[in-house]
C-alpha cells in the first residue's frame, strides 16, 4: 500500500461516514481490506471460489452490522477479521464434518511436475497437515503472522491479545509444530509390521 493511503482518511472516519450512508466510504474500507481478508479465508479453504464467496459475505455482514458498530478498543480490521471467522464457521457448519476437516487449512494442490516438485508438494501437504493438528490458537497465530505475513501488532489486534502474548504464542506454536513435524518424520521412518 502506498504512502498516499497513509494520508487517506483513517478507518474510523470512513466507518462513521459509512454509518451515515456513505457507501463510497465503505467501498474504501473494502478496497483496503479485501486482500488480507481474502488471503486469510483462502488460507483456511482449498477452493478459491469458497474464499471469494465468503470474502464478499463477510464484507456484506460487516456492512449490515454497521449501525451497531461502536468504538471499543479494537481496530475495524479486527472486527472484519472476526466477521470473516464467523462466516467461515457458518460455512463449515453447513458442510459435513468430514469434508470440513479435510478442506480446512489445506494448501493449494501442487501442480503435477518433476519429481523434485512433487516431493516439495508432498512436504507442503505434510506441513499443512501438521499445522492442522495444532490447537486453534496456535494455528491462528501461525496463519496471521507467517502465512499472511501480518505484523505482530496487527496479528495481536486481530486476536485481541497483547503483542507480548502474541509473540509468546507464536513461539509456542512453532515449537509445537516442529515437534509434530518431527513425529511425522519418525513415523514414516519406522518400519511397518512384519
Amino acid at each position: 500500500m502506498s504512502d498516499r493511503d497513509l494520508n487517506n482518511p483513517p478507518d474510523s472516519e470512513l466507518v462513521v461516514r459509512a454509518q451515515q450512508g456513505d457507501r463510497a466510504a465503505f467501498g474504501e474500507l473494502y478496497t483496503r481490506y479485501l486482500t488480507p481478508i481474502y488471503r486469510y479465508l483462502r488460507s483456511r479453504l482449498s477452493d478459491p471460489r469458497d474464499a471469494e464467496d465468503l470474502t464478499e459475505s463477510a464484507f456484506l455482514k460487516a456492512f449490515q452490522a454497521l449501525p451497531r458498530y461502536r468504538e471499543r478498543g479494537w481496530p475495524f480490521s479486527a472486527y472484519l477479521y472476526q466477521v470473516a471467522r464467523n462466516a467461515l464457521a457458518d460455512h463449515f457448519r453447513r458442510q459435513r464434518p468430514e469434508v470440513d476437516l479435510d478442506r480446512a487449512l489445506s494448501a493449494p494442490a501442487p501442480e503435477p511436475g518433476p519429481a523434485e516438485y512433487m516431493e516439495q508438494g508432498e512436504l507442503m501437504v505434510e506441513l499443512a497437515a501438521a499445522l492442522r493438528s495444532l490447537p486453534d490458537d496456535y494455528q491462528e497465530v501461525i496463519r496471521l503472522r507467517l502465512l499472511l505475513g501480518l505484523p505482530t501488532t496487527t496479528a495481536a489486534q486481530w486476536m485481541r491479545r497483547s503483542e507480548g502474548a502474541t509473540r509468546v504464542l507464536l513461539f509456542r506454536a512453532l515449537r509445537a509444530l516442529r515437534k509434530r513435524v518431527n513425529e511425522q518424520y519418525d513415523e514414516e521412518r519406522e518400519p511397518g509390521p512384519a
Binding site: G21, E56, S77, L147, T154, L174
Partner: protein, 310 residues
C-alpha cells in the same frame, strides 16, 4: 541449547520475532534457529495466494448490488414506538406467521422474482416493512432499497429466458424508481442520485452481455434511471413540498395525464401497482442455516494500511 532456553525461555519469543523479521537469515543452529527456519518455510510454502484479477474486477459491482439490497438504518429510538398501531399490526402479522408455521415461507420468498409463486409473499413483506417504518426518512430509505431490489430482479431475470416476467420486472423497476424520486425529499436527493448512478452502471454493464431480445427492456430501464438522475441533478431541482406520501406524487401525475401504470390497466384502482397488493417494499437477502452472530463491533485508532498489508 542456548542460555536463553536454560533460563526458562525468557526472551526467546522476542528473539524469534527479531530473527523472523530479519531480512538476512542467520546461520542456523539450535532450537531457535530451527524455529526461524520453520517459520520462514511456512511463509514461503503455505502462504495463501491473493485474490485473482477476475475476482478483483467482478467483486466490487457485485458487492455493491448486494449492499444495495441492504440499508444502513440508524438505530431508532423505540420508546413509545411500540405503542403505535403499526407495531401492533406487525406483531399480529408476525404472530400469525409463526402460528401458521409460515416463517420458512417468508424466508424462502426473499429471492423471488416476478412470475415466481412466492413473489407476492415477498412484496407483502415489503409492504409490511413500509407500514411499520417509523418516519418519512425511514420510508425513503426503504424505497431506495426497494428500487435496488427491483433492479436485482431485472438482472436476475435477464438470462432466464422468461420474456413476460422480464417485462414485468422492468415495469416494476420503473415504478420503484418513480417512488425513489418522490421520496428523495425525505432522504435527500444525493442518496437517491447515488442509487441511480449505481443502477445505471449495473444496467450498462448488464447490457453488454444481455440477449438481444432483452435489450429493449434494458434500454427502457436505463433510460428511466438516466432521466431520474437528470431530474435529481438539475439545478434547482428538488422535490417540492407535498403532503402526499412517497410514491403518490408520481401516481397522481400518471392519473392526471391519463397514463396507465406499467403492468396495470387501471391506474386508479387502489390495488397498488401491477395488481400486486404488496406493491412496495423489498425482500432482504435471507440467511440460511444457523448463522453465527455478528460480533459486537469495536473500533480503535486505525492501524496504517501499509502496516497491515504484507
Amino acid at each position: 541449547m542456548s542460555n536463553m532456553t536454560k533460563n526458562g525461555n525468557q526472551g526467546l519469543p522476542e528473539e524469534l520475532e527479531r530473527r523472523l523479521n530479519a531480512s538476512d537469515p542467520q546461520a542456523a543452529s539450535g532450537e531457535l534457529d530451527a524455529l526461524v527456519e520453520l517459520g520462514r518455510r511456512l511463509g514461503k510454502d503455505l502462504a495463501p495466494p491473493g485474490p485473482s484479477v477476475a475476482f478483483l474486477a467482478a467483486s466490487p459491482p457485485r458487492l455493491l448490488r448486494r449492499m444495495g439490497e441492504e440499508t444502513v438504518r440508524p438505530r431508532s429510538s423505540f420508546g413509545m414506538a411500540f405503542l403505535r398501531p403499526a407495531w401492533t399490526l406487525a406483531a399480529a402479522v408476525l404472530a400469525m406467521a409463526f402460528t401458521l408455521g409460515s416463517a420458512g415461507l417468508v424466508f424462502a420468498a426473499g429471492g423471488a422474482v416476478p412470475g415466481d409463486g412466492l413473489y407476492g409473499v415477498k412484496r407483502g413483506i415489503e409492504a409490511l416493512q413500509l407500514a411499520v417504518s417509523l418516519s418519512p426518512q425511514g420510508d425513503a430509505q426503504l424505497l431506495s432499497s426497494f428500487a435496488d431490489e427491483r433492479l436485482a430482479e431485472v438482472l436476475a431475470l435477464l438470462p432466464a429466458g422468461r420474456g413476460a416476467d422480464f417485462a414485468t420486472a422492468v415495469g416494476e423497476y420503473e415504478i420503484a424508481v418513480a417512488d425513489l424520486m418522490d421520496a428523495a425529499g425525505a432522504e435527500t436527493p444525493q442518496v437517491a442520485s447515488d442509487h441511480l448512478e449505481n443502477h445505471i452502471l449495473m444496467l450498462e454493464a448488464a447490457r453488454g452481455a444481455a440477449p438481444e431480445s432483452a435489450l429493449p427492456g434494458l434500454d427502457r430501464a436505463l433510460e428511466n434511471s438516466r432521466q431520474g438522475l437528470e431530474e435529481l441533478q438539475a439545478p434547482g431541482a428538488g422535490p417540492s413540498p407535498t403532503d402526499l406520501a412517497p410514491g403518490q406524487v408520481k401516481k397522481l401525475r400518471r392519473i392526471e395525464e391519463g397514463t396507465p401504470e406499467p403492468g396495470s390497466d387501471d391506474p386508479g384502482n387502489g390495488r397498488g401497482r401491477s395488481g400486486n397488493r404488496g406493491d412496495r417494499g423489498r425482500g432482504r437477502e435471507k440467511k440460511h442455516g444457523t448463522a453465527t452472530p455478528t460480533p459486537t463491533p469495536t473500533l480503535t485508532p486505525t492501524p496504517t494500511p501499509t502496516a497491515l498489508i504484507p
